[in-house]
Amino acid sequence: MSKGFFSGLLATLVGLWSFTAISETDGVFDEYRELMGDDNPAIFVIYDGEEIWFTPAGPKSVSLAQCDLGLGPGVVEGAYAQLPRYFSDAQRVQDIEARLEYCMTHLQGRSPDKVRANAYSQRGELGTELEALVAWIADQSSGLTIAPAQAHAKERSAYTLGESLFYYRAGPHDFSCATCHEQTGRRIRLQALPNLTTHQGAAAAYSTWPAYRVSQGIVRTMGWRMRDCMRQQRMPELIMGSEASVALQTYLSVNGAGGSMAAPGLKR
């Protein structure tokens, strides 16, 4: 099936959704999700990601094929499910985004500032390299157990830090992540809010990112999700792959450990 067919179908679905969403929290969207079945349009992005991985790029004109995502150079299958983890070459805990930045700068010789500046799609863009790579890499862990490494002291302190960031209240509205994500069965307007302090809530959320966002027509990463929730929290802009972004994701992945990866997910 063609990409055009999907975009057309999706536009119709989004249209329908925005008219009918008022009736029930997530019910209507769940129906569409069912209707789409395995036909997550992220599939096209996944293909792109795989191609990008193997294509020489950057000043050194080498591909990412030797990038070590934690299971050895070039091993992609199963790597996402074990992130974030400590990397001795970088001497820090990294999520997929920080790791890709590391490989792009160290293997391909690209500038870290540029990698970060082009990480997430701006409004109206059709997806970035990073988004495509993350979609493919996460898909290579689909069905596998969320099992972030917690053996290294820095991996454990990333979790503790993530937890304290989760409860850190600041800004004009006094919000923390906990304001919106510490209770079960709540919603904001009509959007259901997962309780990310529980295994169940964290596993359901963590396993389904990166995700194809129907309303935006692109794949978004978990790092972007962190940034956008920080925006809603009235905070400044969260830097991709930063210590705070990685720590928050460590908190979520460890809380969700044991769950089963199902990314790229499909989200409104």
């Binding site: 850190y168 600041a170 509205h173 304001t179 009509l190 009235r234 802009e237 830097i239």
Partner: protein, 198 residues
């Protein structure tokens, strides 16, 4: 004896937390965006006190201090004029924008009440982080209720330290006029908040 225990508890507590760590990490992990600067990452006393899980045990004497300080800072509107225009207040309650870097700083901030509360019972897109306020006016329009609600909106921590509702007045999110209008939206018998429940 009690003081000694309290001092020991304080030392253990503060050394375990490394109070500055989250702040320093955030400072290194964020950048200014539009009109939103990293200045916002700094916590005031209340925010620092309230950055614990709901299940954590509360230092009651300290909570009482913060409650009192919050209460002291609540101004009475001129002429004890608590009620503005409910129709304008409804717009404030619906508007969820304001103070995010994606928002237009030249537009008035919203109160975003529907994000967390049910108000007009015919509006179905309401959140449930806070209790339903439908029919709020039925609680009576007496001075005590007006003052309670005004205080709650100005600085919710005056009654409930670590409440998750924003400090609409104390934090400068809404103006006095906007707060008076929202008050009218809650209390006015003509306001849809006080329409008979379907």
């Amino acid at each position: 004896m009690q003081t000694i225990i309290r001092i020991c508890a304080f030392i253990i507590f503060s050394s375990a937390l490394h109070a500055d760590e989250p702040y320093n990490v955030l400072l290194n992990s964020m950048v200014d965006k539009n009109f939103v600067t990293v200045e916002r990452l700094k916590q005031d006393e209340l925010q620092a006190f309230c950055s614990q899980p709901r299940s954590a045990t509360v230092d009651e004497p300290r909570a009482a201090e913060l409650r009192e300080a919050a209460l002291k800072g609540v101004p009475t509107p001129a002429g004890e004029n608590y009620l503005g225009d409910w129709q304008r207040g409804e717009k404030v309650a619906i508007n969820g924008r304001g103070l995010q870097y994606s928002d237009d700083p030249d537009q008035a901030n919203g109160g975003n009440c529907y994000a967390c509360h049910q108000l007009d019972p015919t509006e179905l897109a309401y959140g449930t982080l806070g209790p339903s306020l439908s029919g709020y006016g039925a609680r009576g329009q007496n001075p005590a209720m007006l003052e309670y609600t005004w205080t709650k909106l100005w600085n919710t921590h005056a009654y409930n330290v670590c409440s998750h509702m924003p400090r609409f007045g104390a934090a400068g999110i809404l103006t006095t006029q906007q707060l008076q209008d929202v008050m009218a939206f809650l209390f006015d018998p003509e306001s849809p908040v006080n329409r008979p429940q379907p």
